[in-house]
């Protein structure tokens, strides 16, 4: 799958848009798959995550869960994610969302202990609500325009923009994707459910699912509702700032490693939305760069938290400790993505945040920039907290003499360390290759903000 993703990315590089008309029904009548720069980046990252998480799952998922169809659902989920990234049709996007939701519902309850069911009830209810709102918006848009092909919609939209119905359906789409992406104030299901399933599932969800929501937001606001950007911009900027703040404040208050990281997902989503909401090429490029960076760094942190859990059997910060003495290599493996996430130079997070801040200042969104900088400091604080509690301080059990670690087999250790190392190396590599990576992101962003190329590629007629 990674190979196929690289092939797609190669064909799309640098400015080409690849279109597949499924069943040879020409657009806008048939459903088409479209791979432009944004979709290619997302598919590429999905492919990378899929391979690494498969290795990680093989050593951490119990045989009872595998027997219940873990890997089958794993690939259904990936099919849904890739379909959502590649489709060029609004209703088809809804169908792919449902495919990945069903797979994620089952993955989140698979194994069925109490915490999982408890989290799943909230996860399922909120996401179904999101789907209903999405479907209603699709219906309203079809009723008004008579088409569902995104390129065709983009072409017709300027004629009917600024009507209340279109603005309402655009708002409904933003709410629906906001639920899936975990935006303020719709994020509450995320920290309530993401820490309950096995570590591999959490890592996969955090790397892919919320990003699908953000991808859909980018697609909708830059393509279909391109003419309504001025209407939605203030709302999106405020929501971005609030998402950042609530996410990180939640994280600061947590004492469970995985819950802390789950709250950080919310906070990072705020940054992505901030880059999008500026609607400048530079801001969007910064958001794309940030997205790639955060997928790698976040997944690396979750894998490290899994290693910690499997060694000690708990992820409570108060009980953990003295990893720096006993496992210096693991400590480095945590430090690199953690500092990257907090945005310390010279790692990729620093470049991503610097670009975001610069883009924000250029568009004079001073308040959101100030908020994002303050949130950065708090992110650093919560990462330092993990550092102190898990790695630096002596474990409380050590003083009382009841300290013990679970023995782990070699394959298990390597199956967990390998993905974490690759992801951390990816994060470092991204900062070393920041110039070419960012200029590519800038090209993709320019392509996104000029939907004519997309429309021409899909409909085959110069607009």
């Amino acid at each position: 799958m990674l190979v196929a993703a690289i092939a797609v990315a190669y064909r799309v590089y640098p400015d080409h848009i690849e279109v597949l008309h499924v069943g040879k029904w020409s657009a806008p009548f048939g459903i088409c798959l479209v791979a432009d720069g944004l979709a290619a980046i997302m598919v590429l990252m999905t492919g990378l995550m899929a391979v690494l998480m498969a290795i990680f799952s093989m050593v951490t998922i119990e045989s009872r869960r595998i027997k219940d169809g873990y890997f089958f659902l794993y690939f259904v989920l990936l099919a849904g994610v890739n379909g959502a990234f590649l489709t060029g049709d609004l209703f088809n996007l809804y169908v792919w969302f449902e495919v990945l939701l069903i797979a994620s519902f089952v993955l989140i309850v698979l194994g069925g202990n109490r915490d999982q069911l408890d989290g799943a009830v909230k996860y399922v209810t909120m996401n179904l609500l999101g789907s209903v709102i999405f479907l209603s918006a699709v219906g309203l848009i079809y009723g008004k325009t008579g088409t569902l092909n995104m390129a065709d919609l983009a072409q017709r939209m300027p004629d009917i923009s600024n009507t209340p119905l279109i603005q309402a359906s655009g708002g409904m789409l933003i709410v629906a994707f906001g639920i899936k992406a975990g935006l303020f104030p719709l994020f509450s299901w995320l920290p309530a459910s993401y820490h309950t399933p096995p570590h591999a599932v959490t890592t996969l969800f955090s790397a892919l699912l919320t990003k699908v929501g953000i991808y859909a937001l980018i697609r909708i606001t830059t393509l279909v509702f391109a003419s309504e950007q001025g209407y939605f911009q203030p709302l999106l900027l405020v929501v971005a700032a609030l998402t950042m703040v609530t996410g990180v404040l939640g994280a600061v208050a947590q004492y469970d490693l995985r819950r802390l990281l789950s709250f950080h997902i919310v906070s990072q989503i705020g940054y992505l939305l901030f880059g999008l909401a500026l609607f400048t090429p530079f801001g969007l490029a910064a958001a794309l760069f940030f997205m790639v960076h955060v997928m790698a760094a976040k997944a690396a942190l979750f894998v490290v938290s899994a290693i910690v859990y499997y060694l000690r059997g708990t992820s409570d910060l108060k009980v953990l400790g003295s990893f720096a003495q006993l496992h210096p290599a693991l400590t480095v493996l945590f430090a690199v993505p953690a500092m990257s996430l907090a945005g310390l130079p010279p790692l990729s997070g620093f470049i991503a945040k610097l670009a975001l801040v610069r883009a924000g200042l250029e568009s004079s969104a001073y308040i959101t920039v100030a908020v994002s900088l303050a949130v950065s400091v708090l992110t650093l604080y919560s990462m330092t907290k993990i550092w102190n509690e898990v790695f630096w301080k002596p474990a409380p059990a050590m003083q009382s003499g009841s300290f013990s670690e679970r023995p782990l087999s070699r394959t298990r250790i390597w199956g967990m360390v390998l993905p974490a190392t690759i992801l951390a190396a990816f994060s470092v590599g991204l900062s070393l290759a920041a110039q070419p990576a960012f200029s590519f992101a800038l090209r993709v962003a320019t392509q996104l903000l000029d939907p004519d190329a997309y429309i021409t590629a899909v409909l085959g007629t110069p607009s």
């Binding site: 209703f91 809804y94 169908v95 449902e98 939701l101 069903i102 519902f105 089952v106 309850v109 069925g112 109490r114 915490d115 069911l117 408890d118 989290g119 799943a120 009830v121 909230k122 399922v124 209810t125 179904l128 609500l129 789907s131 209903v132 709102i133 479907l135 209603s136 699709v138 219906g139 309203l140 079809y142 009723g143 008004k144 008579g146 569902l148 309530a192 459910s193 820490h195 309950t196 208050a253 947590q254 819950r259």
Partner: protein, 115 residues
């Protein structure tokens, strides 16, 4: 016809959201079902309820003749009905299982995963 459908959709959405905010599992499920029905009807109604000729394409033509009905909304609603049926079935089983394991059908008592 259209007016009565619109009123029906409004009632369904209203009841759905009301039930969704109740604490009992069963009412939440019923709320979700009503909401999905409301959304399906909305797609159907928004696309226009009109009496038109069936959209049949003769061998000699490449597109349906003018004045025929639009088949797309029905295809959309059919897909959406199938999806919502599957999801409702899953949600029912999940909530039943959650009730068995957690020993409560009160949403407010699901605090194990909260802070």
């Amino acid at each position: 016809m259209q007016i009565s459908l619109v009123l029906l959709i409004a009632v369904l959405f209203g009841c759905g959201f009301y039930l969704l905010m109740r604490r009992s599992f069963l009412k939440v499920i019923l709320g979700l079902m009503l909401l999905s029905h409301a959304a399906n009807l909305l797609v159907f109604t928004a696309a226009g309820i009109v009496r038109d000729a069936p959209p049949l394409v003769h061998d000699s033509m490449s597109a349906p003749p003018a004045g025929s009905a639009d088949p797309v909304p029905q295809a959309l609603v059919l897909t959406a009905i199938v999806i919502s049926f599957g999801i409702t079935a899953f949600a029912l089983v999940l909530f039943r299982r959650a009730y068995d394991v957690l020993g409560s059908d009160d949403i407010d008592e699901l605090r194990r995963t909260e802070t």
